[in-house]
């Protein structure tokens, strides 16, 4: 019988990713590793674990202190990919957080918003570099195969990034922003 499983998936929305990992865990597949696309699972008892996705905020004491602290409270560190941290907990030891803890939800949603905002800023800087540096450079070079490739490449990169931002990142940022506002509305 198979005891491990590989699944290919890609998420921008961390809510959906968390839901998917929890659904897999319910079916007896405990997530343990990802590189952002390939997700690896080990067989477990169905509903043995619940998962939470968290974001590293470049803590001044380093991530180690945070991991040690959470581990001493019953959470198990699963995996970190870039600044995403995956935690699991035995289902029998109760949920990560009370459903009605709005302040805690706000904190996590805000972390997610910052995570996506950073990607957005990073991608925009790359697009700006391609548009403002690479493209003019390719037009100043003597005409040859390389300069025409560079021209096409910089155009493709600029428009590719802008399109990806418009179609994928902006809706996620908008959704998280809306969620933050709803949560603030519950506090005030």
């Amino acid at each position: 019988m198979k005891t491990s499983k590989i699944s290919i998936n890609w998420f921008v929305d961390f809510d959906k990713e968390e839901q998917w990992l929890n659904d897999m865990a319910k079916q007896g597949w405990a997530f343990w590793h990802t590189n952002g696309v390939i997700y690896r699972f080990k067989q477990s008892k169905p509903e043995e674990f619940i998962y939470q996705i968290d974001f590293d905020e470049k803590k001044k004491d380093g991530i180690g202190d945070y991991v040690v602290f959470r581990s001493s409270c019953g959470d198990q560190f699963v995996h970190q990919w870039k600044s995403k941290i995956y935690w699991k907990r035995e289902t029998t030891s109760g949920p990560f957080e009370a459903e009605n803890n709005v302040a805690a939800k706000l904190r996590l949603t805000n972390k997610a918003f910052n995570y996506h905002l950073n990607s957005f800023i990073g991608l925009t800087l790359i697009a700006a570099f391609a548009f403002l540096v690479l493209m003019p450079l390719s037009r100043h070079l003597p005409e040859n195969a390389f300069s025409s490739w560079l021209n096409d490449f910089s155009i493709g990169l600029t428009y590719g990034i802008l399109l990806a931002e418009l179609i994928i990142l902006l809706p996620v940022l908008k959704k998280l922003h809306k969620k933050i506002n709803e949560l603030i509305g519950q506090i005030i």
Binding site: V68, F69, R70, S72, C73, F96, E97, A98, N101, A104
Partner: protein, 112 residues
């Protein structure tokens, strides 16, 4: 702005209450849950952030490591400043309750 006059969140209030005696993170979680009859469950992630904030404000202090485990659990205790904040919050809450009792129009309640 004096941040001591702002209302405390439920989580902060219970954490300060739990730290009347030295406790480690997990102890705070358990005590908070017990005191609130299981209504307030703090996740370790939230608690970590709250403890960092409280340390920064000087409302709590680290006080060694817990002896009963592998010695890696840091213990915390409330400071004098923290105690003042907690007492001020208690007064505020009493005012809320008193005003509620005085002003609420509810037959059932008045008959008590």
């Amino acid at each position: 702005m004096k941040n001591t006059t702002a209302a405390l969140t439920e989580a902060i209030y219970y954490i300060l209450l739990a730290l009347q005696e030295p406790l480690h993170g997990y102890g705070i979680m358990q005590k908070t849950s017990t005191m609130s009859n299981g209504r307030l469950i703090l996740s370790a992630g939230t608690l970590y952030g709250a403890i960092s904030n409280l340390l920064e404000k000087g409302w709590i202090l680290p006080c060694g490591e817990s002896p009963d485990t592998d010695g890696r659990r840091k213990m915390y205790q409330i400071t004098e400043k923290g105690q003042e904040v907690l007492l001020a919050e208690l007064e505020r809450l009493e005012e809320l309750v008193e005003n509620g009792r005085k002003n609420i129009k509810n037959k059932q309640y008045e008959n008590k």
